[in-house]
Symmetry: C2
Subunit: 168 residues, 2 copies
DNA sequence: ATAAACATTCAGAAAGTTTTGAAAATTCAG
DNA sequence: CTGAATTTTCAAAACTTTCTGAATGTTTAT
């Protein structure tokens, strides 16, 4: 397979893949494009490569920057801005984990704590089932949070040498 | 807070939460409702509780069954079907992990293997960056897959006693 | 100060997804 | 069988998200 075709296929599949994770197609495609590009690209490069409009490119690049997955790069002697993506997939995964924890897990745990002290007779099976379910989810979420905290702080070496050993 | 309100809030938040994971709102709400219900509910119960149409309820209940998160229950002497959800959140998480691995991770790894043997001069930085990126992602994905396989097979006790110890 | 280059915004259009509800199919008791 | 109860399907409608591109804002070179 030729590079150009492989690249196309990677970008397009990455886009499809990402929608299942609640990330939009264009954002994922831009990320994929930047991951396989050895040099930084300008907004116009991105527009041309992916056939998307100026506004779309701009919006999604900024969102990627927001997620900490893409950086602005200044090319000396060039007026326009260039962009580059983190290429170490481990770092990408940790960055995504960190953001999602902040945006999703933390608020959910906060809500669950509040719901846990619902008033009512704990002999009532409806009350009991509700509290049991909420408590179970909160406990599980709390553990997940602790795991994430350790993993996010740890460096790649720790991850590979200590944790992965468990999974041969 | 009253049970009815807490329940409402849980169901609605679970729905919002889930959309960020690419699952649709109604499906998540039905799941939430069934998780906090001590007894199985019929399709009409679900329709009434969530104010949704017959077709919508039917479709999403079937999808939940497909995901292995909800089961049909036969209530003796009743003609209509009742539904119940797995309430052990650990089992829910493992079931979701298993399905997503099958639906998303496995196909992605298959594609990456194919893309890895792109033809071209490995001295060319474009070719090199492409191969390096793809290889990195594939390796990471393969590790993740192994981890998931172990975790899915393991029982809850192993999980709690061995793995979580690592994370204090 | 001016204008060219570039970045950002945003209202409306397009595309995609979810929901409805009525019709069709299925099941089951009598 | 028959027909009432129940489940399933599906085309159209409602809703949501994403994208476009022209207008506006900002920066920089001269």
């Amino acid at each position: 397979m030729k590079l150009a075709d492989a690249k196309q296929q990677f970008i397009s599949s990455w886009g499809v893949f990402a929608t299942q994770w609640g990330i939009n197609r264009t954002m994922a495609q831009i990320h994929a494009l930047l991951m396989v590009s050895p040099d930084p690209l300008s907004q116009d490069d991105v527009m041309a490569e992916l056939n998307i409009s100026r506004g779309n490119a701009n919006m999604n690049i900024r969102e990627l920057i927001d997620w900490g997955l893409v950086e602005r790069v200044l090319v000396p002697g060039e007026r326009r801005e260039y962009f580059t993506a983190e290429k170490d997939i481990y770092k990408v995964a940790m960055q995504v984990a960190k953001e999602r924890k902040k945006r999703e897990l933390d608020p959910m745990l906060k809500l669950l704590s509040q719901l846990e002290d619902v008033e009512g007779d704990k002999k009532d099976k409806h009350v009991k089932q509700f509290i049991d379910t909420i408590t179970g989810i909160r406990r599980f979420g709390t553990q997940a949070e602790k795991m994430l905290d350790v993993m996010i702080k740890a460096d790649e070496n720790w991850f590979t040498s200590n944790l992965l050993k468990l999974f041969r």
